[in-house]
Symmetry: C2
Subunit: 393 residues, 2 copies
């Protein structure tokens, strides 16, 4: 049996394991110091009441002969697809139910969608970036070219007429930088994709953090995008589903390349290699879009946004350049005094016991930058910023 | 953008849609006739109390600050992996925790595992077979060769010295035939795989139906299998999780091909393209293995087995050849009077309003055979058999 040799070309992912190791060592040497973690992308607020109420009802149903649900549709139940259809309508995006696929999370579908594409495509990936975009393509042996995101383009790279490629990844609001594309900027990407017969993989996992109504939440707010884009979203950040697992993927009904319909190909993939998301979880996700549910999750989002504001205020006070925070749970800051990413990591850990993520871990253009997340508690975030404020004085 | 052209080579899957269409037509013409469905592989008994109790507790936890669980380990929580480790111990199979991967169902992992293998492998698939084995490999463009399963080998094909191949699928107890390999027969397959440096994909989804203690539930009951096999199992049939979604995959720690460790490759695949199974679902699955839970699920299995017995008795009374039923929820019967699969389907539907699955839908060797499932209600199964008994007199 021959193995997939592309796995030999995968770099080991050292970022979070190195962070964990350094934190463990520091903790052992300084057992009295209270470490505050602003590093991971995981949420801290519990599921809201509307969601747990709905899941309790679903669990009870599943224990009765009349209410039991066996195999569900691989593409998800219509009760949830209808809610998502309406959610897009608020932004004037019209979707058909058969364009909406319920997933067990954006990460799964972002990887699995690659099943539909030939190995011989050139993939454009911004640097810095969410590392899974790179590794999932390397597993198939695709050629990757990086697009520079940097302080000059405010970490929002745009296509120019010389840019060539078949698949491009856009994450807006961005992980790790928190930068958000404007409508006019996404229009340039859609124009480029249509002209180049390329496909946009649009990661909208953080759309719920956008504070300015004029900024697009979905690539499908852009005219023509239904002919050149697939969008991935998740309940992880909007409703704290990181451990509950539910997301959705939008594959337009008319999306075609080389005379093959991608929506139909994805149906074939999912009905062959997936069996749908738990009924109980889908009932929980449905409750996110009830009046009560939406009010409750928005309270959590405001909570995290307030944490971001606390961080942003501290950075501004010290004249430190940053992006993100306002429309994103992430703050992407320049390390003060031209420090390198890992040096600043050590500096914060050793002096004030605060943990963030070194920008270099997201790509070469991340060197000299640092990511902070607002997913912690208000008390922890406030204390961390007070410590950093004192340190930088 | 170039699409994966292998999708063009996929045959449309007409089996269950054709069945549904014929049933709908019959129903419209005969609105007064009560149709009994013994066709689908879905369960009908609700989740047991131990499972729903555990899930209620988990849902409540997820709504509290202290009990909330965010991202879990992609490989699954140790509380569930430990229970599976113990479950294998009852059959004297020793597993390490890191050999056990919790999945959202056997179907997902049976497809996803192919990520680890080169396109240039020859895949051996028994005919008749669960159609997903074929399609998932065709999606990658692998060469498939079929192994004949038929009445002569009791639908349990064995390797001979001329057999060549890199990957072989074994499903025991089998879907669709319900046939179960003996230990001595699986030993031949393990010997063949080791000699040919081939890999066995062992689908154990129906192991819980085995009634005879001498029959193997796991390929790892066979010496040497940890050097040549991966096993897939599921809570769908043992505990009615078809709509709740949980399974597990065993990748031995020492499984190596071409100097690459498959366990490590699978960890890399899962941490990159998967984010674990819902905490709530894993807590439900854990409860399957409590004393109360196990007693409750076994009651359901006995219920289905009794249905199978009712079917078997009817077939024996009429001298109809069949396999399965005793160690499986499926009965695989020869169509009486040399009828073809679809003719017998029509004959049953039109004369006694009973629905089964034509064997031809599972491969060419299925022609002349018919699958009945025991997952219906006792009352429905009994009535269907009374109708068939009268019809065949």
């Amino acid at each position: 049996m021959q193995i997939n040799k592309n796995y030999k070309n995968l770099a080991q992912s050292y970022l979070f394991s190195t962070v964990a190791k350094k934190v463990a060592e520091f903790s052992q040497k300084n057992p009295d110091k209270k470490i505050i973690k602003l590093g991971a992308g995981d949420v801290s607020r519990p599921l809201c009441k509307a969601v747990t109420d709905a899941m309790h009802l679903a669990v009870t149903e599943m224990g009765t002969k009349e209410g039991f649900h066996g195999y569900g549709p691989e593409q998800g139940y219509d009760f949830l697809r209808n809610k998502i259809k309406n959610y897009y309508k608020r932004r004037s995006v019209e979707l058909e139910l058969n364009e909406i696929f319920i997933s067990d999370g954006a990460k799964s579908d972002l990887g699995n969608i690659l099943d539909l594409f030939d190995k011989d495509n050139t993939v454009l990936i911004p640097d810095p970036v969410y590392p899974a975009y790179v590794d999932t393509n390397k597993m198939n042996g695709r050629n990757i070219e990086y697009i520079d995101a940097n302080i000059e383009n405010e970490f929002l790279p745009l296509p120019d007429k010389n840019l060539k490629g078949d698949i491009v990844y856009i994450c807006s609001p961005n992980n790790p930088t928190g930068a958000v594309y404007k409508k006019s900027q996404l229009e340039l990407w859609v124009k480029w994709a249509l002209e180049n017969k390329a496909l946009i993989i649009f990661d909208a996992a953080y759309e719920c953090f956008i504070s300015d109504d004029s900024l697009p939440h979905s690539i499908f707010e852009i005219e023509g995008a239904k002919k050149c884009a697939i969008e991935f979203c998740s309940f992880s950040k909007i409703a704290g589903f990181t451990g509950t697992r539910c997301g959705y993927t939008i594959v337009p009904a008319d999306l075609e390349y080389e005379e093959m319909n991608l929506n139909k190909m994805w149906v074939r993939r999912q009905t062959t290699k997936f069996n749908g998301v738990s009924y109980i979880v889908q009932k929980g996700a449905e409750a996110v879009f009830t009046e009560q549910g939406y009010a409750e999750i928005m309270e959590n989002i405001e909570y995290y946004k307030n944490n971001a504001l606390v961080m942003a205020n501290t950075l501004e006070k010290h004249g430190i350049w940053y992006t993100g925070g306002i429309h994103s749970p992430y703050i992407w800051m320049q390390c003060p005094n031209n420090m390198k990413s890992w040096d600043f990591f050590d500096y914060l850990l050793e002096n004030v016991a605060v943990v963030g993520t070194p920008g270099l871990g997201f790509g070469k253009n991340g060197e000299g930058f640092f990511r902070l997340t607002s997913f912690g508690t208000y008390e922890g975030t406030k204390e961390a910023m007070e410590r950093i404020d004192k340190l930088l004085k």
